[in-house]
Amino acid sequence: MATPAPRSDDDGETGGALAGLAWALRRDLKLAFRTRSELAVQLLFYAIVVTLFPLATTPERTLLSTMGPGVLWVAALLASLLSLPRIFALDQADGTLEQMALSPWPLPAIVSGKILAHWLTTGLPVVVLAPLAALQYGLDGMAIGVLVAGLALGTPILSLLGAIGAALTLGVRGAGGLVALLVLPLYVPVLIFGAGAVDAVRAGIAVDANLSLLGAGLIAAALGSPFAAAAAVRIALD
């Protein structure tokens, strides 16, 4: 028998998938860490959008605390949208994406790793920053806790759905604007349940339904969208 090639998936489908996921995750995290300023720019974008709303409307506290959850969530959606090209565009430009598609690891696993890295580098910072922004909007401790819980469950869904849009628009004319048109309608349920959870706790209603639905959405998106995104990547590479 010939010596088994390195990186072969003869350790079984699951092992190969996990190895591919871990490899893509490590690689994208390392790349992101080396372009830290880009990540900081995206976080600043979130902070600035959040700052614009009181300036455009009113500094009045009661109104701000009513608008707050929605504004913080919309800003999270926009920040996620802004960072979507990070997932695939650079790798497609230098040909790495093609090598990934050719690798023996299943492409959905590699895509999952890239999506996870995208969330860790763009979604998680927003989750961490959100309490500060929530204080600016005069939300109380309980509401902030629910906001953070909702964002922690919801922003991974944004990365998962966004990856499909990012892959579909790879190398397409006007990809930046187009990806917004494709992805933002799909974000609507996340926005509703996420902002709704904070509204519910402010109104004194139980929030578990909203958070459970976000969790269910996260599970469904995590199971489905890597496959859709991988299919879209293959289409883009043809």
Binding site: L161, I164, L168, T169, V172, R173, G174, A175, L178, L181, L182, L184, P185, L186, V188, P189, I192, F193, G196, L213, G217, G224, S225, A228, A231, A232, I235, A236, D238
Partner: protein
């Protein structure tokens, strides 16, 4: 007699079939629309609470139904296109998108005109209106993605993936928006409960729905013929059509 469906899976054989069928569906649509409008505006009684303004439902409800249904049909053709890599399925999906977008836009437009006298506002952030608006955005997204990709085969498959992702999301969007706010009057027509409308109103609406259905089929068939001609313009069979010249 068994029909060999595969025979019509080729654009070359479907093109003349679509040409034969489209005028029939257009004629059916015209007849049904004439009958439906006659029932709706001539025979059906004035609504006790909404007055004459309710008669816009003869346009509004059929277009709203078709906006949702056309998306399902588009998703069906997209799934076929992805699964079997058939060109004609993707062309059908492409042909349906503008029709569906038009239906969604008409449903919103007529809904606004109905809402003004009935609710006192053109737009309320009600669940069905909002989800129809998002459905319109989904249609426009598919159309925009199609026009942004030059290679038609890549556009076919990219749009098919997007349509299917959207199809999974449409019910989720609908229920999330409905959860978020429900101000719309309860559904007037449902399969389980007895209809709360006068039977003439109901039959007018159903006739109009079938008219909209036939019109959508006719429009999609005509559009798919144009798409076939555009995309097969280099092939020999197009050159044999009367008045055609093969582009080298």
């Amino acid at each position: 007699m068994a029909i060999n469906w595969y025979h019509y899976a080729s654009p070359a054989t479907f093109y003349p079939l679509a040409g034969r069928l489209a005028p029939w569906f257009a004629a059916i649509a015209a007849l049904l629309a004439a009958a439906g409008l006659w029932i709706g505006f001539g025979l059906a009684p004035t609504d006790a609470t909404q007055g004459e303004a309710y008669r816009i439902i003869y346009i509004h409800v059929p277009t709203a139904w078709m906006a949702m249904f056309v998306y399902l049909v588009m998703a069906f053709w997209s799934a076929l296109a992805l699964a079997f890599n058939t060109r004609l399925s993707a062309m059908m999906a492409q042909a349906l998108a503008p029709t569906g977008a038009l239906m969604a836009a008409l449903a919103l437009w007529t809904g606004a005109f109905w809402g003004r006298p009935t609710w006192g506002t053109y737009w309320a952030w009600d669940a069905r209106m909002t989800s129809t608006l998002i459905l319109l955005f989904l249609y426009l997204g598919v159309i925009a993605l199609r026009s942004a990709i030059d290679d038609p085969r890549r556009a076919d498959r990219a749009c098919a993936v997007l349509t299917l992702v959207g199809a999974v999301n449409v019910p989720i969007i609908y229920f999330s928006v409905r959860w978020w706010n429900t101000l719309h009057q309860g559904a007037s027509v449902s399969l389980t409960a007895a209809p709360k409308m006068a039977s003439l109103m109901l039959s007018g609406m159903l006739v109009m729905s079938f008219a909209a259905w036939a019109w959508c089929i006719a429009a999609a068939l005509w559009r798919v013929r144009a798409i076939i001609l555009e995309r097969e313009r280099g092939s020999a069979w197009v050159g044999t059509l009367p008045g055609m010249r093969v582009v080298p």
